[in-house]
Symmetry: C2
Subunit: 408 residues, 2 copies
């Protein structure tokens, strides 16, 4: 990469963001996932980490690359930079002068205190898109509140809506706030790039993890707004409105299956497959409303069938009958899933210190370009010298001096 | 809107996607949420529904607008169009000729069977971006499998990872597969628009809800890949790696709070706030690793303090002490949250048949443009005539004929 490569490179561009240069000051999941998406869209992403590495690195002993970091930081260059030194700030400002985008998900105020906030970098490069993700956004009474996935889930209603009615609220088992935030941040960046092609100017993009997560509760919010206080907070594996039956997760002889009868014809077919034409002929169970009113009884009938069979048998028989069904796969099973592997969403690649490891493919695919294949996540500071040389034109003695001074 | 307005309108553009025309053939959550995001980014979104309306409308009696539909379909025009008629197909092809983007989340193969698949519309308008979201994407062994949020959650490992260790797997209480899919689809659309500015050509974008959801499992996948089969599938409200303590949801006298001590200093402060300097002074609990090994005991100590106090008191005291904490808010509480209201993420607006209703703001905000304010979701076919008149130049008699023929 040279200064001349910065900006868009012309009609030979292969992936949508080919030629776009992104500085990522991301940590844990939200910022790094945004960088991951932009890199897989073709952007050149330079990940800038503090001297001890971003927080994900603190979860493993020094020198051992954390798997979570390797999964979300493919296709990035890695620069180690001490922003608490004057020289470090100056290096970041010089990089920002030549970049298109900077993304960051530090706690509120951190970037300003480091002297690399929006106003500072905008003055250096008015075309820069400066995209921040925080727990609660740049405005409003909680804007200065630190946040983690757990606390954002709690304050957005996700936790209260998750789990069984008779057990306490429980966090979603996946980091919904972090990943919803990271995806919305990537959307904001690309929208601002599109606008910049017209206006010639960069701008600040503001994503709040809480805002990004709120629409995910559409079912839960509409249930409450429609039914009022009588609406159940949590419905376990039953439909949020309790108006669909069967709709549940059922045990088999070796695992669980999710089954739903979205229409009455599915129920008729299910009864046939279960070898219970008597149930299918029972007029008192023919309509969705009557089944829903007796859902505990209906679930027992379905369970009596599923529990005697292997999971794969239940799934195959119901799929063949056109009834919505899915095996409840464990994480190890997902990693071996033939579909995800054939789509290259789960790949294996060689890592310089870990050997063969898993890598994600790109969750957005395009007809006009092949997905960008994964390259290993950078070791801490792996490309510090290379980036300073190629982007900023530093010579070896300047780079050596920065190393001596503990800047890189 | 006139044909002359189609495409980008020049440097006076106010929002990032000002001037972009999107046809949305969305249903339930995934497609409509993509349309919602694009509309709030400034695009003109025309929602095209079948004669009986999209599936969300089937959840309420005719004429009663479903709340879920009103939440996700703000800022759209509504066209009713029977794509099973030759005239209906022709209308869609004419609209596609003048649009920039079409988004759809029908089951695999539906658009092709209707005669409005990618190859057909591409021939009509090579600049068109054709973006599809399906459960499992356009390729691979499951590509023809119908999917709903429940089944995608089951087959991506979300369900197996969610809930308490001693209760069965449970779906995430919010529709993670639908919303992850919709957000990634919007990202794909804007990336393809950006690329089109360079190449002049549209393309197909392919988003699989399963692919979009998989990275959300980064913690769970890395836990398993690091620790092997001994890694717990579900950890309830404890940290996925069981290496952080305290980290849980605790009962108070009137609700629950989430508390985590991300660092040893948080534990010291927590002991002070709890009035238990003896615990803070106990060297056997000073280190994270030793607390994590005795997390059940630590949780009991914290719980003994929280359960005696109102939730608000616990939250205020811990926030003042700089300890990560959050109230577990219910959906009704979230809807009254002062922060979400001040950020205009939760708004109230007037709906023509429902009166005052809630509306979401935009989860992506920009410094160079004010958020697009919400306008009510369209009634079924509310703008059919208007869109045909303004976009396609149809006259009143042509429109009347289409109505008579049951096309619109």
């Amino acid at each position: 990469m040279s200064t001349a490569d910065v900006g868009r490179t012309g009609p030979q561009a292969k992936a949508p963001l080919d030629g776009v240069v992104v500085l990522e000051l991301g940590q844990i999941y939200c910022g790094p996932y945004c960088g991951f998406l932009l890199a897989r869209l073709g952007a050149k992403v330079i990940k800038i980490e503090p001297p001890t590495g971003e927080l994900t690195r603190h979860r493993t002993p020094p020198g051992v690359e954390p798997i979570a970091l390797t999964l979300l930081n493919t296709n990035k260059s890695g620069v180690r930079l001490n922003l608490k030194t004057d020289e470090g700030k100056e290096v970041l400002r010089s990089l920002a002068e030549r970049a298109d985008v900077i993304i960051e998900n530090y706690a509120p105020g951190v970037m300003d205190r480091l002297g690399v906030g929006y106003e500072t970098l905008k003055a250096v490069n008015p075309r820069l898109i400066y995209a921040s993700a925080t727990g609660f956004g740049q405005s409003g009474p909680y804007s200065q509140l630190g946040a983690m996935d757990l606390t954002v889930q709690a304050m957005t209603g996700v936790m209260a809506s998750n789990g069984f009615p008779d057990t306490p609220p429980v966090k979603a088992g996946v980091a919904v706030a972090d990943f919803a935030g990271g995806t919305h941040l990537a959307l904001a960046v690309v929208a601002a790039l599109y606008q910049r092609d017209l206006t010639g100017e960069g701008q600040r993009a503001d994503v709040s993890m809480q805002d990004a997560l709120l629409p995910y509760l559409t079912s839960n919010i509409s249930g409450y707004l429609t039914n009022g206080e009588s609406h159940p907070q949590r419905t376990g594996n039953q439909h949020g409105s309790l108006s669909v039956s069967p709709y549940n997760v059922y045990p088999t002889s070796n695992g669980f299956v999710a089954i739903l009868c979205a229409a009455d014809r599915h129920w008729q077919r299910l009864c046939d497959v279960m070898g219970r034409p008597d149930l299918g002929a029972d007029p008192s169970l023919a309509a969705m409303t009557s089944r829903a009113a007796r859902s505990a009884e209906v679930d027992e009938l379905v369970c009596a069938w599923t529990i005697e069979l292997p999971r794969a048998t239940v799934v195959t028989q119901l799929m063949e009958a056109g009834i919505p069904v899915a095996p409840v796969l464990t994480v190890p099973e997902v990693l071996e899933d033939k579909h995800l592997i054939e789509r290259e969403m789960i790949q294996t690649m060689e890592h310089p210190t870990l050997g063969p490891i898993r890598a994600f493919g790109s969750p957005v695919q395009f007809s006009a370009s092949r997905p960008v294949p994964p390259t290993p996540s950078p070791l801490l500071g792996e490309h510090s010298g290379e980036v300073l040389r190629e982007v900023l034109g530093f010579d070896d003695s300047q780079i050596e001096q920065l190393r001596t001074n503990g800047v890189i």
